[in-house]
């Protein structure tokens, strides 16, 4: 069930109404139980047997969390943490990376036979997200950060809460579990804000992302045919396509959770207005970047071993982050590219006193945006040959090829850049939410009609594959 499908709309309305009724009559535990059952149903709508993996992860991490917290000896704590890590990373490694590993070994050994059936497995939905989420819980327990979950129901809901289980935002146990303990009172605009996020997210995904995707797909289908200007536009268009796609999903996830009374962390903050690579990662996929910082970068030693070691750790963390996105070298390249950008930025920043620098703000934003857009070539290209073709096309000039999608991509990319920069200076949400209900509803009706008109072309969310 995709968030932009009629099936999901019916599912969600039924779940939300039932949950709110149960919660309203004070049956909080039955309400949570119902939500958990709905979450499993949501998960099983893709591939029912894989729910067993989810149950295994939940059971192991629930037990491990308690044992780690209660254990008195460091050895016992380490053993339980190891069990949790082996279970989670074992599942993730097998389903996501075993085939990749086999193919690379086969290439090294010159093996050209068929892939054994054992490596030919389907990737379970959202495995990277709920695995990381679950791991963070046991590591937090190991580091002494917070109390363990004492209620299996709450913990199970933390692992598979359906609004965010497929593609995040990755939540932390210390943020989510307290919300399960008892209903959290929300301010008077909370649910209106949630509804706004759902509508805006849907619009971003169906109208903006898929419209831009039309041109991006055209270019990537035959890169050699297009000139440098086309490729630059395609890189920009893809930057916004993936932003609208993923932030649209995140907005919807936050909004859907919000209507149920849960709060999820913000995942994007107008990222293309970042003035340097470091700031970009403070604005882009915030849930993942903070997760990588807390559980990979710090685990590698962070900046405790001197500046050279810290740079290496940054680079390695980002390369791992790239690999997290997918079992393919172009994702690793993308991660390494960002790692290199962050290292260079760190070196430059260390030599210069904190000041705005010689470039005006807009120029710094433009440079950062283009560096990010260039990096996304590694991300979007299906393989290394496409990356080479794209990059060589960028420097070789070539003829400008115009088409309908080309014109639309110019309009949408230009418009997106303008709106992006406006939103960086001015938040529209408080102004909008202060408008009369009828006016808000009219805006939503317009968005709904646009979504309806654009829906035939909509595809899956890009981040569902991770």
């Amino acid at each position: 069930m995709l968030f932009n499908s009629l099936d999901f709309l019916l599912f969600y309305v039924a779940v939300a109404v039932s949950f709110r009724v149960l919660r309203g009559v004070g049956a909080w535990r039955p309400a949570k139980l119902f939500l958990l059952a709905s979450s499993y149903l949501f998960y099983m709508s893709w591939n029912p047997p894989f729910v067993l993996l989810l149950l295994l992860t939940t059971a192991v991490d629930f037990a491990a969390g308690q044992r780690i917290h209660d254990a008195t000896s460091p050895g016992a704590k380490r053993a339980w943490l190891l069990l949790s890590l082996l279970t989670n990373l074992g599942i993730l490694g097998y389903f996501k990376y075993a085939r990749f590993l086999f193919e690379n070994l086969a290439w090294l050994r010159g093996y050209e036979g068929p892939t054994p059936a054992i490596f030919d497995v389907i990737l379970p939905l959202g495995i990277s997200f709920h695995t990381f989420q679950s791991i963070s819980y046991t590591i937090d327990m190991y580091r002494g950060g917070g109390k363990p979950a004492r209620d299996l129901l709450d913990f199970a809901l933390f692992v598979c809460f359906f609004p965010q289980m497929a593609a995040g935002p990755i939540v932390r146990s210390w943020d989510f579990l307290p919300q399960c303990a008892a209903p959290v009172p929300r301010d008077e605009r909370y649910h209106e804000r949630a509804l706004m996020l759902i509508m805006v997210g849907l619009f971003k995904k169906v109208v903006c992302a898929d419209t831009l995707g039309e041109y991006v797909d055209e270019v990537y289908a035959d890169i050699e045919k297009f000139g440098a200007a086309n490729l630059i536009l395609a890189a920009w268009a893809y930057s916004f396509q993936i932003y609208f796609d993923f932030s649209g999903y995140s907005d919807m996830a936050i909004g859907l959770a919000g209507l149920l009374g849960f709060s999820l962390p913000q995942n994007f903050r107008v990222p293309y207005c970042a003035e340097n690579p470091r700031e970009f990662w403070q604005r882009w996929h915030i849930a993942l970047s903070t997760w990588l910082r807390d559980y990979v970068y710090i685990s590698l030693g962070g900046n405790r071993g001197g500046e050279a070691r810290a740079r290496w750790n940054v680079f390695l963390t980002m390369a791992i982050g790239g690999l997290w996105h997918g079992a393919a070298w172009h994702y690793v390249l993308w991660g390494a590219y960002h790692g290199a950008l962050l290292v260079v930025h760190r070196m430059v920043a260390a030599r210069r006193p904190p000041s705005p620098g010689p470039l005006p703000r807009l120029a710094r934003q433009f440079v950062t945006f283009n560096l990010v857009a260039l990096g996304l070539v590694f991300f979007r290209a299906p393989d290394n040959a496409h990356i080479v073709a794209f990059l060589s096309g960028l420097v070789s000039g070539g003829e400008l090829v115009t088409s309908g999608p080309f014109l639309r991509a110019i309009l949408w990319t230009g418009g997106a850049l303008a709106v992006h920069h406006f939103l960086d200076r001015q938040s529209v949400a408080p102004f909008f939410l202060a408008r009369p209900p009828a006016l808000q509803a009219t805006a939503y009706a317009i968005l709904a009609v646009l979504v309806f008109l654009f829906s035939p072309t909509s595809e899956r969310f890009i981040y569902f594959q991770f």
Binding site: D222, K225, T402, S403, Q440, A441, T442, Y444, P456
Partner: protein, 344 residues
């Protein structure tokens, strides 16, 4: 959740219900839908032809391939049943180029409205063929033949992948920008063939931009109704045609304009030939082509009436063979002549 939130949701549901109700009320009755379908089917066919061009686009733009690009209409599509492979238009035309080692890229679109051809020009030029052939059908230069004045046509143009579509005279066709925006929604409702409210809503949810409906029998038309009266330069179709020819001239790609056979015999019998000023119309088209450096192959008087099988420009098998053969020969001469000119 407070009362204000429920008011927002309530208003939203009310407005959406009102919008759907409006769309439902605006849907046409089945008879009207069927009439509309004549146009829609035609646009649909055009669109599919245009999809074919995308295949050509996928072949890339590199080099100057040894091919002649050919833009034809239904008169070149072997519509009459019973053609053997040897009697097909494309086979015959290609045969004349074989020994020159030159291929033929053929794009054939129903209707051959002149603006359709114009949309194809850029796709051809960017691929740098050795030469190009434009089939010019005099019947295409009439509003009766072209459905351009229908808003759906404008919508089709809006969907096209050639930016020059924007330069087409939308205003002359009575098409406002708002129609382009609201057209899909209105058409979705108007083409809905549901007989009850539940069916209509279901259709609305399922509706895509595709077209559907029963086959429509095109009513017979008198031959004189199909030809324009004394064309002049003020006619939009002539202006678009000239723009097309000019594009090839500017791109330096030799263009051969082939004037398709006209129902000369029949029109002379009815007196329509003089009344409609067929000569002057043909002369205008030829003069425009020559002024912009294009070659002209005039086949207007090639066929006797017996080799047409309807009042449109569709031929019998014998007629097709004769036209294809004459076109192939003319094209061969043209290619050799232009090649020599380039060589000298």
């Amino acid at each position: 959740m407070n009362a204000r939130f429920f008011r927002v949701v309530g208003y939203l549901l009310f407005e959406l219900a009102a919008l759907f109700a409006l769309a439902y009320v605006r849907r046409a009755d089945v008879a009207k839908v069927r009439a509309e379908h004549l146009y829609c089917q035609w646009f649909h066919d055009q669109w599919h032809e245009y999809e074919w061009v995308k295949g050509l686009v996928a072949q890339g733009t590199g080099g100057a391939p040894k091919v002649v690009a050919f833009i034809g209409d239904s008169s070149t599509m072997d519509l009459r049943d019973g053609h053997t492979a040897e009697q097909e238009y494309g086979t015959i035309a290609r045969r004349h180029l074989d020994d020159l080692g030159i291929g033929l890229w053929m794009i054939r679109a129903y209707g051959n409205a002149i603006d359709t051809e114009y949309l194809l020009a850029d796709q051809m030029i960017v691929r740098r063929p050795q030469a190009a052939v434009l089939i010019v059908n005099l019947q295409a230069f009439s509003d009766r033949f072209s459905f351009f004045r229908h808003p759906d046509r404008a919508h089709w143009i809006a969907l096209s992948t050639v930016p020059e579509a924007l330069w087409l005279p939308l205003e002359d066709a009575g098409v406002a920008a708002s129609e382009l925006l609201l057209g899909p929604l209105i058409r979705m409702a108007r083409l809905c063939e549901a007989s009850d409210a539940a069916g209509a809503f279901r259709e609305l949810f399922r509706a895509r931009f595709g077209f559907r409906g029963p086959d429509v029998v095109v009513p017979a038309a008198r031959v004189e109704d199909r030809y324009p009266t004394a064309l002049d330069r003020s006619y939009w179709g002539v202006q678009v045609y000239e723009a097309f020819v000019r594009k090839f001239e500017r791109a330096g790609i030799p263009l051969l304009v082939v004037i398709q056979p006209v129902h000369v015999e029949l029109l002379k019998e009815t007196g329509g030939y003089e009344r409609l000023g067929i000569d002057s119309s043909l002369n205008l088209l030829k003069e425009i082509a020559e002024r912009h450096g294009a070659g002209v192959l005039d086949l207007s008087e090639l066929l006797p009436e017996a080799q047409f099988y309807d009042t449109a420009t569709h031929f019998t098998i014998e007629g097709t063979v004769a036209v294809a053969d004459a076109t192939g020969k003319g094209l061969r001469d043209f290619v050799l002549r232009r090649a020599r000119r380039v060589g000298s």
